[in-house]
Symmetry: C2
Subunit: 255 residues, 2 copies
């Protein structure tokens, strides 16, 4: 059974200030919770219907509360609650290890839409990109809408938050820095590398001027529209992320 | 000023059955309405704040009603109403002209999420794909959420609804038919053509068995994850659409 205090606590975690205060977040649904159970995340408690619990082996150090459908509805973030909700510890931010730049890393300069961030985390997971560095003003990765949109990929991709200008200033100039810009060069005719940073900008403004300063290679996804005067102005941020990640991987990891 | 009947009529258009009955839809916001004004769509009436109307030249055959911010809120589909709403005629479905298959055409086999459909329309517009054919069970393209998500691209991309099996049966077997499938062949090592059909499947089930029968070339977007046992299960439907469209265009329209 759920106590009033538990209901209040879980619902509070829908707001960033309480996630920051308690350093906890929630994840919902069979697939997402199952993947988090097999990840480095520390699960504090699981609230689930008996029908879900009956099919699970849950480690003994995790508290488990069986709940009714009604109770699940009272703590869910979804229109249709999905069997199980987990209360999870937000991992402590660690200093960024420079070794991550031996591979491809995504840097997000103020992605604001939770669906976009979740989708970008899922794309990174698909393409074997294990680290994403977000600017301080990027939407919180532990926002329930982001967590849901990752479809479980948050269990595998490490999310860092950092002051981007400070980070770039501290990095070796030998690490290639790419960015998607509408005035960039055709990505399909540029030399790319198998490691480095790909910067993706905000949904409406793109990459900020402050961060553009650090971009060594400006990339553009050509539109190939028949009439360049009469076409979409831009691609959605997650769509651009996908096309760029696919092209880097295609070049260096032929299968 | 808005009459009660007008408010009722516009709000009714948020539901498919009333869009079907009246053969009308609504579009909202400065950018979207401006692009529709310069398209083949027939605008019936515009409801806008005076500050918007002051900067527009609207053709005389279009009715114009100045509204207050309060009135706009009462007919808006958005959390933050955006200056102008247009009432627009849904174009009559015309028989599909076989000439469209001389270029690339997208076929959607039951895309359900309005955001995904809107994003796919925007992607098609970016890549110069002018026709999309949707299965009868694909979400309605004139749903306000789809229209908004196209960011204006609905003004340029033609959307057809058709019985897909019937369509495929009637088509010449010389038109190449591609489809994205998890058991397909690496798209990056396959021969592609500059024309033909690209079939994209439903968000959870992929391409239905009935339609898989017509796919001549099964394509797969390789994941390149280091551990193929521990990665995202799939890509979002719009993300897959983007990567596939980009690859077809890259091959044939080098810039």
């Amino acid at each position: 059974m759920l106590t009033k205090n538990t209901i209040k606590h879980i619902n509070a975690l829908k707001q960033k200030k309480f996630r920051d205060e308690f350093q906890q977040f929630m994840a919902e649904g069979d697939k997402l919770v199952s993947e988090l159970l097999h990840s480095h995340y520390k699960i504090i408690e699981i609230f689930a219907l008996n029908e879900w619990l009956d099919n699970q082996k849950i480690p003994e150090n995790i508290a488990v509360t069986a709940v009714t459908t009604d109770e699940l509805e009272r703590i869910s973030s979804l229109t249709t609650p999905n069997k199980v909700i987990a209360l999870i510890e937000i991992p402590q931010q660690q200093a960024i290890d420079n070794l991550i730049f031996n591979k491809l890393v995504l840097v997000l300069d103020e992605i604001k839409d939770p669906g976009n961030l979740g989708t970008i985390i899922r794309i990174a997971d698909w393409f074997g990109i294990s680290d994403i560095i977000c600017s301080k003003h990027t939407v919180d990765a532990y926002n329930p809408k982001v967590v849901q949109a990752t479809m479980g990929s948050i269990a595998r991709v490490k999310i860092h938050y950092a002051d981007l200008a400070g980070l770039f200033n501290s990095l070796s100039k030998e690490i290639p820095v790419y960015g998607t810009l509408l005035n960039g060069d055709n990505i399909y005719t540029q030399t790319l590398t198998s490691n480095g940073i790909i910067v993706l900008g905000n949904e409406s403004r793109g990459i900020s001027e402050e961060i553009q300063y650090f971009i060594q290679h400006k990339l553009y996804i050509p539109s190939y529209a028949e009439n360049p005067q009469n076409k979409a102005e831009s691609l959605n941020a997650a769509i651009a992320a996908a096309i760029v990640c696919a092209e880097f991987k295609r070049r260096f990891f032929k299968k």
